[in-house]
Symmetry: C2
């Protein structure tokens, strides 16, 4: 049975994978998405790698920049 820590990591990685999967077809680099979102390129990269416990506000900012509803990031 996965530990809570393991599950958290997996869910962060799943979230990041969703962001990446939505960004690529838009033809945007991490840097360009960062510019649209007003977030740093390195932050976008760390979110996509599942390294961030991203907050509600930034989930909305990313969803807006990707042109989706935040529910699509889960």
């Amino acid at each position: 049975m996965p530990t809570p820590d393991h599950r958290r990591s997996e869910r962060r990685r799943d979230f990041g994978a969703r962001v990446r999967a939505l960004r690529k077809p838009l033809g945007l680099s991490q840097e360009q998405l960062g510019q649209v979102a007003g977030l740093d390129r390195t932050y976008i990269g760390s979110v996509e790698r599942g390294e961030r416990n991203i907050s509600l506000d930034n989930i909305w900012v990313l969803a807006d920049a990707l042109g989706v509803h935040p529910s699509e990031l889960f």
Copy 2:
């Protein structure tokens, strides 16, 4: 046009309202939901009032405790 700050507040309140709307039909108090989720009652209250910039990990914890997918909290 709403300011970014105004929009952030509105989205936090919307999220909190969703949590409350899902909690009530389960017949759970904030304290009981907190016990299920392993979160403090006062934290649940502040999320429901839209006072928290809740993080991805806790969004998942709350969704699990409410028996829904996190996408339903948006």
